[in-house]
Symmetry: D2
Subunit: 330 residues, 4 copies
């Protein structure tokens, strides 16, 4: 296929590399793999070459996880976000017009500052929305704030006002919350822990009532929806059984209604046909979008799989590019 659009595609910046200690990740993922990923995160030219080879016309790039979300000092977080967005615009978008777009990084340590930076990125820099790497540390590395928590109200109001999508990207669980993975460090990140962390984060948003306040919000999940296509029906069924219990959140509708109306999912890093089938069946082919998760994944592998998927021409066209074109006005 040609003319594909991909939207979970990551970059890093010199400043991000200074702030983030990748030692743990490098140990877990292997040093050679990590070194290659790190080099590619910074390199717009190799990215374009890979896109040309695979038939990807346009990629929407974003700061790799955990990015701004893990910076403990709010001022530093704001600076990193600003620097990231300026760099993304200058070294990626402007250097390859029509080929690269970007999602803004936002310093949710201070939701008002996040709102301001989002506004600047969208209005002044042309950001296509924002990508948030899960919970944001507030105070220390074991203190998290999820996006449904009330402090984030100004951020969501700005998202609604600007009417841009929010990509909810994974990050690793809190260091003190990894007992379940003990002995299997390989499970902490993208292989396994990422998915539950992010799927639960999405469920928190659904239960919080956020989508009753802002019915037009559009949240994008990677990895074919982080398991939600399969798991959500049981969640909804059990919540109904528990409807006289506590801790149900404030939402007025059923979780599947929000999932089908406020969410979109991408194929990033989950190149499996039956899971794609399940995702399409759950959310409809208008809400599934091709993505790679470069440079953690290779464009060739993603495109080869997607091209061979037994989809109708219409679904191939929608998922490959059409849905993204409509969503981001590309």
């Amino acid at each position: 296929m040609r003319g594909l659009i991909a939207l979970e595609e990551h970059l890093s910046t010199p400043r991000n590399d200074e702030l983030w200690d990748a030692a743990g990740e490098a140990a877990r993922n292997g040093r050679a793999y990590t070194a290659e990923v790190e080099a590619r995160l910074l390199d717009a030219e190799r990215r374009i070459t890979a896109m040309d080879g695979a038939g990807i016309e346009t990629a929407i790039v974003s700061l790799t996880s955990p990015g701004v979300q893990s910076v403990l000092d709010p001022r530093q977080a704001a600076e990193l976000a600003r620097d990231t967005n300026d760099t993304a615009r200058r070294d990626f978008v402007d250097a390859h017009p029509g080929r690269l777009e970007f999602f803004a990084a936002v310093p949710l340590q201070d939701p008002r500052a996040a709102a301001d930076e989002l506004e600047r990125a969208v209005r002044d820099l042309g950001a296509k929305g924002t990508l948030v790497n899960g919970y944001t540390n507030v105070g220390d590395e074991n203190t998290a704030r999820y996006l449904d928590e009330p402090a984030n109200a100004p951020f969501w109001a700005k998202v609604a006002e600007l009417d841009v999508p929010v990509y909810l990207h994974p990050r690793e669980p809190l260091p003190g919350q990894r007992r379940l993975y003990e002995g299997y460090a390989s499970l902490v990140g993208s292989a396994w822990g990422f998915g539950h962390e992010t799927a639960t984060h999405a469920v928190r948003l659904m239960l919080s009532g956020l989508f009753d306040t802002h019915p037009g919000l559009r949240i994008i999940l990677g990895h074919l929806g982080e398991g939600l296509p399969f798991l959500l029906p049981r969640l909804e069924h059990r919540l109904y059984k528990q409807r006289e219990g506590i801790g149900l959140g404030s939402a007025r509708r059923r979780v599947s209604e929000y999932f089908e109306e406020n969410f979109l999912v991408t194929t990033s890093g989950h190149f499996h046909t039956r899971s794609l089938d399940n995702a399409i069946a759950a959310i409809g082919a208008d809400r599934v979008l091709f993505s790679v998760d470069y440079p953690y994944e290779t464009m060739d592998e993603a495109v080869t799989w997607f091209t061979a998927c037994p989809l109708s021409r219409s679904d191939h066209a929608k998922i490959g590019a059409g849905n993204a074109r409509r969503l981001f006005d590309l």
Copy 2:
């Protein structure tokens, strides 16, 4: 349909009710719902009536979660297991021959004691295997031992010797490991937290090399495999990318090989056609078995859904009863 067999069907006993403080669960699930469940857990007659009404010929009953796994005193755990198995045999199996069978409870606080009790239950009482409610507390309520941990070697050796299935049933995450659910108590248990806890437990078993040591082990998962049909391909794909990293466990084969050869899944509490489709596609119709999760679920609802599922006669027959008949020699 008639002649169905169900195998994630729970009971309680007076002794278990004394030892387990159900207050948290009652708050979360609602008092009326919980009271009704608790009454049904003890009542073999109402169970048979419900089975008759729904067309379920045989149910394999087991002690409800967390059961023996949460008892902090190992001696008390052993006593509860023994009492449970005697009660299951006397008040359920013997009271309704041909209609009820049982899975043994085992005191994994002391794996040798668990092995002994399993042997007694299988050889003397006719247990059809054992059902384990997730990790076992050792020491205090925040200290867990998962089934892949080396201390459990004598237990697994006995399971292999007796050649009986192990049903790996959910329990709630450790109290100190629930930050992700904070603010949404409804998510801790069957609605959501159960699934990740149990799926990860299963993955730990796969990575540990247990199935290389005992290739004939058969592990049963409820809830259509706790998300694994959808999630496992990405896990395997990422573990391969991380193959030079650390914390990968000791297994010699790929996780999907163990899943397809050492696991079976039931429909308990997940009555959703597309998730069933995904489960069948992932593991084959010979390894999917009907179950209800009574009395948390109603038999009528489970059977009505299953009967209407767009399955071939052959798959209906296998999943409804044939696979269980073969597996348990019924």
Copy 3:
């Protein structure tokens, strides 16, 4: 569900009943069934009552098979078409505004007359397109003209000019071409022969090059596409193997391209979930439309099945009404 739209819904008229000898059909289908159908074909009030009961907001009605296509005298055919369209407008559409629309009948015995009548029906009477009951007899009951044959060029030019859909509806095979069904009269019509007759007719259109001449044509097939979602891939594969052979027609593209771009399919009379799955996979959910085939089928049965189908809300909405609303500007 409420607000459904159905588009393979049949009527008859007094004049049609005079011209068509239903004796063979009555024998094959059973007299009581046929009598009930014939009464309902004429009765707009009972139809509305059935629609109200089932939740169908709007039905597009059309003259039942074979209708005008089987009239041997071209003048009589033209008169029947004209009378049918006037009756449809007066006794159905005008009597139930907003609830009933109609497809025009056209006298293809004379393609220019068919073009004229289509234009009159669309422009003056508000017809939503035309429904053609398969081949048209020319001369005698064993002489057929299919829609791909060159004589029909003026008809297709008018269809393209008016830009309205053509519903290609089944009729029985030619009397002299039924050896394969001999001994099993039940197979001649809707149960079996209809499907092959109509699927082949559609394939003829694809091979003829018609869609190269008029790329905007939209052909609607009932019965989930008359088997084409399943069968077309083999046809295309074999035609490629035979590409140096004869009798391949004049089309410039592959049959599946026409199927996916020039065809739509309805659920009429084929209420089976796996066949629907296959149809959606083949042609995309934007090209599948709910229909009943009333009064041969009952609205309740169709709606009950469709409502229970394991589809996303989005696909339910599209197939149930959205696609028809867009296609027919309802």
Copy 4:
């Protein structure tokens, strides 16, 4: 994959080539293609080379269509059958033990002779069953006898006694019954007409009551069931509506019951994932078997497609070889 078994694999013999005028087929399919096919039909060595290359361990070979079924002189038919079976045994099976097996040809012009030859082929030559190329000409090329017709009773009694499968293979429709394909000679054979001819033949068997008389019969259909997985539900539904009508045959059960209990289907010549999905959903993975349709199809293409199909290991193993091994005791 390695170790595959394929069972719709054709051969010819010098005697068959003398009797069958392949001119029409050569024109329709292209001369170069046909010449290549004809050379390969005779050549056991090239077949083995192709099997080695593609990973096919064992092929069950059979006389190509129409074979014995089209011979007008019953004595000549009997001789051709006998010669074919002796040749298959000597030049194919004995020349490549363990790699090639065969289905007997039978002269159904005289059903008692067919029964005798089947018995000889099975008992003396080790035939794995018989493959019948559709209807048999009796008298002239426009006179057909289908397998459900009463004259064939002695043949079916012998099949039941020997307890061997019957592969019902396509042949082209009667010369006088091709009006529907007029103008498109490419549609007469494997691309299109084959399927309807054979699916209808299978339906005739179902309706005839044959499987009530001989409940153990096993009929194999190629090409993923010739459309029946998709079409049969509508057939059954309409036959029920027509149950007071005529021409319904003598069967005591519903057509889908026979399909699911007396039929098996192969993948021959229909290498399409969604159609395979539909076939598995309709009949269960225990009744779907890999096949190629060599030399009309290439082994590499079939195996490449099948290997890439998103099937569980279990279904891959069953369809690829296990079902055939069980069915033919290989």
